[in-house]
Every structure is written in structure tokens, then in C-alpha cells.
Symmetry: none
Subunit: 206 residues, 4 copies
DNA sequence: GGATAAGCGAGACGGTACGTCTCGTCTTTTG
DNA sequence: CAAAAGACGAGACGTACCGTCTCGCTTATCC
């Protein structure tokens, strides 16, 4: 795994490691404090007490540094709920997401969205694949409880519920507070109710 | 109204108007061709045959120009459907959206999302408010046909259906083709079916 | 002569004259207050309550306006002395010059020196010709008193005595206070003393 | 040692030195060719084959560059004479000055006079102090020959003789050819003749 | 344990874009 | 119709940031 190789290479405490850690830490803090607009290599270097050139040598571009900082420090802020019912799990998830966006961490998320070079796109794609994978247990439990059809794609449901948050933040520019989380969950969940009439949509995603 | 006064002052065809139109046209074309990254005032000025200073005088910043160009030229690219059923209208809408994002116009839309200064945010908010207002007739007709409950907020439904497109484009970086438009419409629409069991959610939005 | 034509055109009291006077007045004040560096047409126009274009129409360039303002308002600040002896006259003259350069009016003088377009050069040349002509009576009186040889050129003497002031202000950048006015007058005047040994230099200037 | 040789090589042929030299050379040439009016950073950069930004980084303003170029390239163009008599030395000096002003180098001198920011003033003050200091040997020799009183300030005499040249160039706008160099020297020198009657003025300058 | 490779600090430079300032001209509007 | 008002063309200035390069030195690694 990447981390082991990294550990071996870095010999915790060496100068390189010190530089690397200081830069990533300063980068992430700067990202949260000032947002994407003011995220400059010069400022990161100054905060980290490191020369700009060292950053260019390692990361090459501000965006690569930004993505690296994001990856290193952005642990999944929203825990995976297990409340006993799917409806409640999904509502908890939605509320967690909204609260993250109200915290300063939200800056970092938005910042990353603005980065659209190839590397960042790849990183983000993989992040969300992992994220959805880690949410799958919610649906495994729901299926076991008979709350969710085994042949439906949970990712579609998740994206339907999660997407409006980003839509309102990024596209339509509306406050998140207005969004009726529970209503949305209920409306959408109806489409997954175990009804004899609705057997139409099978899993279409691999 | 402001527009009338402006029209009166500008005597369509005057030098100012010529400059303004040439700039906006060039700006929008550049935006579509090259995207946000390569959208520079110098290039717009060169294309429009206008001096850079004139652009700075009028718009001040590249972003302001970008927003103005977008407003002036981005007419609603997705027509408002009227196919006879709500389900069919919504699917048509979704397919229209997907096709727009596959066209070069999609560049312009993404470009605007990356602009997050105060003015741009205001413009985008207002654009989407109008957009949703103009889609309301779809639901008026559906209500008349008994396909949609009169006390539900159609905007919530619309955002649920539209948002995943942007989520996949901007956040999770997935192709739009994978998205099951019809399935999503059917799932969500179930939550609005005139069922005796589900009368819970009243309009909560003003 | 230009002045006559101007008088005819100006219609004392008309709008044009009002504009002209306001502009010249503001221009001269600005010149004295802020010096040549900050002398801009925009500022003059603002102070005079006149549109910039009006100034451009009349004067064409900032320098022309500056020269005109200088001409109109810079009356000879140093009176022509008549103290009874040539030595005393020249010392008085020198002290007058030094005191002018210590007053805000000195700004205006320096400002004009920095203007070196053709028109300004011509104006300045003529100004100094007139100035020297007006100082000639000092020497007429001195000749009558036997203090100055009738065949010497007084302008040479005047320039020798006046020039160091400008040299120190413009070239060697030294304070005027250090300059020994009386000593210089005495030293130079020795060369014009009616001595049997020195009859060499006749007038060589036309 | 290797390091010393290396240092030496680097200072002479390093990139920075190359840039610096090219810029100063181009700047001085431009100054002489085109005068102060057309002295722009862009043109200097183009001539030196250097990027404009590099000039801004080093010198900040056009004036600072101009002054630096002047300092670096304006060696004393007028040699210090030693002809055997003070009178002859001073006449030679005056003729040298006049001839410099007739050469293209005169452009550079006038250009510098127009620059009156703080730095330029300081540089010019120091330049003339040095210049006068370097002319002092003329008077040491004259004193030894009994041609100049040991207690008089030679700088006063020098300024009296040099100043008219600048006065006519800058202030009264008259040709230099008209100026009677020898007459002026003779007149002024009379004031320094070792006469028993004239013991008035002692050195007042430190 | 000494040679050697890798990385860092320091400083400049090339390059792109931005935004400002002033001058001078041109067009539009108005009295 | 002439002057006022307003916008534009032109060009220089100065700034910010990005990314590259060279050099000298320190640290880590390897034989």
C-alpha cells in the first residue's frame, strides 16, 4: 500500500519529511482559512517556513499541492450512521452533510471542486467511489431488514439525496437550511418501497 | 425600468453599443471555445477589435465580464416540455439537460460555476429562481391532470432530479451517460403519487 | 500678435472667458500646490468645474496649459531694486531670488523648467529676454555713477550671478542658504571695476 | 581555492550580472538616443533582451533605472585640465563643458536633471560633491603658483563659472555658443586676484 | 567512514495576466 | 450649430503569481 512505501521512504523525522509535513499542514490550513482564491504557493511556503522552490520541486503546481493537502487531511467528516432504519440513516447522513458545509471545512470542499485539472478529477472520482462503497453497509442492513429492494442500485439513491446539497451550494446558490431533508428522503424512499406494482428498474450499474 | 432608459440612451448602433455588443459576443464565444481557464480580457479585446482598457472601464474584472456575457447569450437552452404526462415531461427535461452538457455550451455553464464572487453568486441565484419559475407550468398542468399533489413544492422535486447531473459533473466526476434518468424520475415520482398513506409533507417553502 | 487676436475672440465675461479663467486659475494653483508631477488635466478640470475635453480643445496638451497658466499668473515676483549702488542692487536682487525659491511660488518655477516642448522653450526664452531687458536700468544707473563700464555686457554679469541659484536647485541639488550672495557679487564685480590694467573684454553680444 | 575562482567567475558571467549589464547598457544608450521622454522600461527591456518584469524587480521605477544607468556609464566626460595657469585651466574646463553639451551625451545630462525623485536628487548631490572634489587639484596648483588665495572657497568660483551653462540650457533657453567663456573667467578671476585691498571673504564652507 | 546522491535554501529570471493611470481623440447629447 | 458630456484608443506603469533555473550547502545513503 502506498502508506507503507511512504513510511519506508520518509524515515520519519528526516528533513524531507519535515518539509513535506509542514507544507501539507500549512497548505490545508491556508485552504480552510482563505479558500481557493488565496491559496498561493508563496503563502504556503511562508507559513511552512520552507522555500517556494522546495514546493515546486515536490508538487509542481499549486493544484497538485492542494489536492495532496486535501487528501492527507480530509478524513471523512461525516460518520456512517447505523440508527436502525434506512430512513433514519439517510436523514442522519443528510444532516451530517449539511453541518459539514456550515463548518470551515466546507471551504476546503468547495476549493477542491474548483480544481479541475486531470489529476484532481481522478482523485475526486476515486474519492467518491470509495465514499459510496463505504456507505454500502447502510443498504446491506436495510436489505436485511426488508427496507430496500436487493436489486436496486443504492448509489443512485445516494446521489439523488446528496446531490441537491451541492447543487444549492454550487449552482443555484441557495442556503442549505431551506432544504427539507426528511421530506426528500421520504419522497425518494417511496420509490424504493417493496410494492408489487413497481418492479421496473433493475440494477443497471456494474 | 432600467432597460428602457438604457435603450433610450444607447441609440442602438452607437459606438458604445457596438463596443459592448462586440465584447459580449467575443467573450461568450471565447468562453465556449476555450473555457474559463483561457478566458482573458486581452483575448476578448483582441477578438472584439476593442481596446483592453475599454473592457476594464465597463466591467472592471474578467469575472464580471464573464457573467455578463453568460447572461446575455445564455438563453434557456433546454426548452420547457409539454408532452402530456408529468413523467414524460421530467424525462424529457432530464435528457435535454444531459444533451446540453455534452454540447460546447456545457463549457460555459461549468465556467460560470467556477466564478464565485459576490456578483456572480447573486446572478446565479436569480437565474435559477427564474428558471424554476418558468418550469412551474409543467406542474400546473400535472396538478390539473391529477398527477401531482397541489400542496407539494415542485421546486424540491426539480432540484432532486436536476442536482445529480451537476453532482456527477462537478463533484464525483462521473459521466452523465451512466445516470438512469427514467429510473430516477420514477423513483422520485412515487413519492408524489396520490396515495392514501402518504399525506405527510405539506409545502414548507414560502 | 497672439494676444490681440485672443482679446478679440474672448468676449470678456462670456462663458468661454469664464471657463478659460477658471481653468487658468485652477491650473496655476494646482501647479503651486502639487508641483509638476501631479499636474494633470483631470485634476485641473475637476478644480475648475470644467470638462476635461474643454481643456483639451483649448490647450491641447497639459504642457501648453501649464505654460499658459504660468504666463498668466507669474508676475515678476522679484522687484527691480534701486538702492543707490550697483553692489547693493545686485545683492538685493540675489536675496529676492533666493526668497522666491523658498516660497511656494518656487514650485511653479521649477515646474516650468521641466517642460521642454517647443512652445515652452520659446516662451521661456522670451520671458528671460524681457526679464533681462527690464533689469537693464540697474546698469544704466550704475554706468551713470561710474560703477560699471559702459562697454561691458550687463547680461553676462547678471547670468553669472543668477545662474548659481538655478544650478544648485536643479543640478547639484544644494540648499540655497549656503550660497554666499555678497561674496559672489563682490568677486564678480571686481572684474568690472574701472581698472587701468583690464580693458580687454568689449561687448561681444548683439 | 576552487570556491574563490568560482565566485569570481560567477560574478562576472552569471545570469544576473549579464542581465544587469545588458539592461544598464541598453538603458544608457536609449537615454542618449531618445532622451528622457522616450525612455520606457518596455523599450529598455526589448533592447536588452530581458523581460520587463526583471527590470521592475531590480529597479522598481523607470527613474531609478535611469539614474543607475547614468551613474554606471556617465564617466566624467570632461577631463581635469592642467595647463599651467588657473585662467587657462578654467577656460579649458568651460570649453569642455560646452562641447559635452553639444554631443549626444548632453541628452543624458538633461534627462537626469528632469528626474527629481528623492533617490535621483541624492545621487546628483553626491555626484557634484565628488566632481568638485576632483577639481580641487586645479586650485591646489594655482595656490602653489600664487594665482589663487588659499583662504577662498574654490567651489564658489567653480559654481559661478559652471552654472551659466546650465542656466542657459535649462532656464533661459539660449545657445551656449553665445557665452563668452574667457570673458567670464577673467571677470570672475579678478575677484580672486591677490590684492592687498581684498581680504574680505574668508572660507565659509567646510 | 568517506564518497556520493538527493534534497533544501536562496535568489533571480522568464512569462502571463491583471488592473491602473493619463493623454488625446471621437462620438453623442444638449442648450 | 457649438459646447458639454461621455466613451474610446493608445500606451506606459506597476503588481501578483506561476514555474524554471543555477548555485551553494546540508543531509542522508551507500559502498
Amino acid at each position: 500500500m502506498a502508506k507503507a512505501a511512504y513510511q519506508k521512504r520518509r524515515r520519519v523525522g528526516g528533513r524531507s519529511a519535515r518539509v513535506r509535513d509542514a507544507v501539507l499542514k500549512s497548505a490545508f490550513e491556508l485552504l480552510i482559512e482563505q479558500g481557493h482564491e488565496r491559496f498561493t504557493i508563496a503563502e504556503v511556503a511562508a507559513r511552512a517556513g520552507v522555500h517556494e522552490t522546495s514546493i515546486y520541486r515536490r508538487w509542481g503546481t499549486p493544484n497538485a499541492l492542494l489536492v495532496d493537502a486535501w487528501l492527507g487531511y480530509f478524513d471523512d467528516a461525516i460518520p456512517i450512521p447505523d440508527t436502525g432504519t434506512l430512513r433514519s440513516d439517510l436523514i442522519t447522513l443528510g444532516e451530517g452533510g449539511a453541518s459539514v458545509h456550515r463548518s470551515p471545512l466546507g471551504q476546503a470542499i468547495l476549493a477542491l471542486i474548483l480544481v479541475r485539472d486531470e489529476h484532481a478529477l481522478k482523485v475526486k472520482h476515486e474519492y467518491w467511489q470509495r465514499r459510496f462503497e463505504r456507505l454500502r453497509p447502510i443498504f446491506d442492513r436495510a436489505i436485511a431488514r426488508g427496507e430496500f429492494p436487493p436489486d436496486a442500485d443504492p448509489i443512485v439513491l445516494l446521489q439523488i439525496l446528496i446531490a441537491p446539497r451541492f447543487f444549492r451550494l454550487l449552482v443555484s446558490i441557495e442556503p442549505l437550511d431551506d432544504w427539507p431533508i426528511a421530506e426528500a428522503v421520504d419522497r425518494v424512499l417511496s420509490g424504493y418501497a417493496p410494492s408489487p406494482k413497481r418492479t421496473a428498474h433493475r440494477r443497471r450499474r456494474q
